[in-house]
């Protein structure tokens, strides 16, 4: 008899919980098709690993995730965001690799009173005057990483630097970032086409201007092609190459030995020594069999960030409490303990990394120096948000 009652209770319990408890809905948008699909794959993998680590329950609550492929197209991103907000009524729209896509969805999502959390893109346009109380960034502001590179170049007496980036918002932010700290002579500056594959003409021009060093920002496949052709042109040994978001765990498996010794700056590296990161890198390599990139680390952080905020706020119904909880930071991040600036961008360290061949023969990056400690971005002062 008692067993029967217990059974009935369990059945009711099971039926009851999804009906009465609120469900957390998270939209995750990334690029899964096309040449950049490899980045999206890493981000999705890391996101799923994050879900494993939180028991598939954001803040311990029943959760569902809606995945979307933005195809790296702003119009597709906008449709996806609309669908996530209106049809699925998500609480968070997250992910987003590309700055131009983030700019396209920033207005519509934040105005709809849905939280938008970028796991990668950090364009200047949404960090300053247009900052929003519904937008958070768990990666970095675009200018910061090249700022660190610029500071390194400046501090180490490197002169006559040639600058190269694709012609889009992030490219412009990157070069502005380098030049904010690097004040010596610039030997030349070129904006290439976004998605360009053959850089021979640019490399010829670069060589002719006889620079002391080269700084490039060419993310994803563009970077692989560029570094490969830079090598083919025989410049790797003679003109040192400094990079941001170009030589990383996404490009290294294709670049292999050709990028060893190339320096770049980043907020994260697989060898960053803290408990969360050690567990993330170990479990990621075990589950997927390859070394995670910073894209993956940020995507993992995204899960922990939302999970932590919901726990602190005690649910998702009170949006103001949830926002306050997100602003607190203090979530278990792969980059240690992060806090947020008034514009909702993280204040964090920036490291100098070198591409190396690791003891088991795989190519990875190693931190060799800390360039900035607790570095905030340049646009926070233009953001009128106070809290």
């Amino acid at each position: 008899m008692n067993k029967k009652i217990l059974g009935v209770l369990i059945v009711f319990g099971l039926m009851g919980s999804p009906l009465y408890a609120e469900k957390v809905k998270v939209g995750f948008m990334t690029t899964l098709s096309g040449p950049a699909g490899i980045i999206g794959k890493q981000m999705k993998h890391a996101f799923q690993l994050g879900l494993d680590h939180i028991g598939n329950a954001f803040g311990g609550m029943e959760s569902s995730v809606i995945y979307g492929d933005d195809q790296r197209k702003p119009d597709v991103a906008k449709q996806l965001a609309d669908k996530m907000v209106k049809k699925h009524q998500v609480h968070f729209v997250t992910g987003v690799i590309w700055s131009n896509l983030l700019v396209a969805i920033h207005g519509p999502v934040t105005r709809s009173n849905t939280f938008l959390v970028s796991a990668n893109a950090g364009p200047s346009t949404v960090a300053g005057k247009r900052c929003s109380e519904n937008f958070f960034n768990v990666s970095w502001q675009n200018d910061q990483t090249p700022e660190a590179m610029g500071k390194y170049l400046q501090d180490n007496g490197i002169n006559n630097v040639y600058l190269m980036a694709p012609n889009y918002q992030a490219g412009k932010d990157m070069l502005a970032g380098v030049q904010r700290y690097y004040k010596r002579k610039i030997s030349g500056k070129v904006f290439t086409k976004l998605g360009q594959k053959d850089f021979q003409a640019e490399i010829s021009t670069l060589r002719a201007s006889n620079p002391g060093a080269v700084f490039v920002f060419q993310p994803g496949g563009m970077g692989i092609n560029f570094v490969k052709q830079y090598n083919q042109a025989g410049l790797m040994g003679s003109v040192p190459l400094y990079t941001a978001f170009t030589v990383d765990a996404v490009s290294l498996p294709a670049l292999k030995g050709s990028a060893v010794g190339v320096l770049g700056t980043q907020t994260w590296s697989p060898d960053l020594d803290n408990p969360v990161n050690r567990r993330f890198v170990r479990d990621f390599r075990k589950k997927y069999g390859y070394i995670p990139s910073f894209y993956a680390a940020q995507s993992y952080d995204l899960v922990r960030f939302i999970d932590h905020a919901i726990r602190v706020a005690g649910g998702i119904s009170d949006r103001d409490a949830l926002r306050d909880a997100m602003r607190l930071g203090g979530y278990p991040s792969t980059r240690g303990n992060l806090r947020f600036n008034n514009n909702h961008f993280p204040i964090q360290n920036f490291y100098l990394r070198e591409a190396v061949k690791d003891s088991d023969g795989s190519y990875t990056t190693k931190i060799i120096d800390t360039v900035f400690t607790d570095h905030g971005d340049n646009y926070a002062k233009d953001c009128r948000m106070k809290w």
Partner: protein, 306 residues
């Protein structure tokens, strides 16, 4: 500046002959068979994938290319026999729709067989060095080889079309399909052959691109747009036109990309030049096309067919 101009001219030439390899087949098929083939870019991709894989299997660049060429020819023949043959009598819109479908088909097949991630391969041994084209101007050997191969193909096509029996039949079939058929020429076979040849030239372009850039699904489409610009400038159906227009487009695109932003920077503020320069440079070839069409509405060398 002078040396840079020469080096950039070489870069433009290399890009130009690459475009010619693609445009040659496109203009033959469009001009002679009167077929709009949007999937011509897919053949570039097929060639690149086949070559990358075969080079890896055989361990030799030359062997890989030698096997990949007939393989791409075969792919072209199969596509012609199975799909395109039914489209000759239809109007251009039907052909556009069907060949667009082929693009989707090829991209998906490649994704299924090779996966969505890009393939990267290195330069072949022995061609990875540099040659001094002028004192103080080292130029990658592999890119010089592309220029040579492109020029060789141009000569080969000229010889085939102008000097051989096959070329005579092609020209006959082009100027009057029914009459040539009535005189006993197997037009069907001829068109299959022409299409296969065009496919292998496009494939060759893909094979040359492999070691330089990434090989990935959809890699042919941006090139196809440029190839269409080339055949429109050159005059549809004209091999000579395609050759001259390819070189022209290659030079204008490369030199424009390099020198236009420099020129603008000397005229307006740097920030304006940085914004306008690259945008304007990427429009240059379309401006060139529009300009040429104003003066010569049928292109530089309108073919004397049909």
């Amino acid at each position: 500046m002078g040396l840079l101009l020469i080096e950039q001219a070489f870069n433009g030439l290399q890009f130009g002959v690459m475009l010619f390899l693609i445009a040659a087949g496109l203009t033959l098929v469009f001009g002679i068979m009167d077929l709009v083939n949007l999937s011509h870019g897919s053949l570039v991709m097929v060639g690149a994938y086949l070559a990358t894989t075969l080079i890896e299997w055989t361990g030799s660049f030359l062997l890989g290319i030698l096997f990949a060429l007939p393989a791409t020819f075969l792919v072209g023949v199969v596509v012609e026999v199975l799909v395109l043959r039914t489209l000759y009598e239809r109007d251009h819109l039907d052909q556009v729709l069907a060949t667009f479908g082929l693009i989707l088909f090829f991209n998906e097949v490649i994704r299924i067989v090779w996966g969505p991630a890009s393939l990267y391969s290195g330069l072949p041994e022995g061609l990875s060095g540099h040659v001094e084209i002028l004192p103080g101007v080292p130029y990658p050997t592999f890119r010089l080889m592309i220029i040579l191969a492109g020029l060789l193909v141009a000569v080969l096509i000229y010889v085939i079309v102008a000097k051989t029996r096959l070329g005579m039949l092609i020209r006959a079939g082009a100027s009057n399909r029914e009459m040539a058929g009535a005189l006993g020429v197997n037009i069907r076979m001829l068109f299959t052959l022409v299409f296969g040849l065009g496919a292998s030239f496009a494939g060759l372009a893909g094979m040359m691109l492999g070691p330089l850039t990434s090989v990935e699904p959809g890699m042919g489409e941006p090139l196809l747009i440029l190839a269409f610009v080339v055949i429109i400038i050159g005059g549809i159906g004209s091999i000579r036109g395609a050759f001259i227009a390819s070189i022209l487009v290659g030079l204008v695109d490369t030199l424009g990309r390099v020198f236009l932003p420099m020129l603008l920077r000397s005229m307006v503020a740097d920030s304006t030049a940085d914004g306008v320069g690259p945008a304007l440079a990427s429009m240059l070839i379309y401006i060139l096309m529009a300009g040429i069409l104003v003066i010569r509405p049928r292109g530089l060398f309108p073919a004397r067919t049909g």
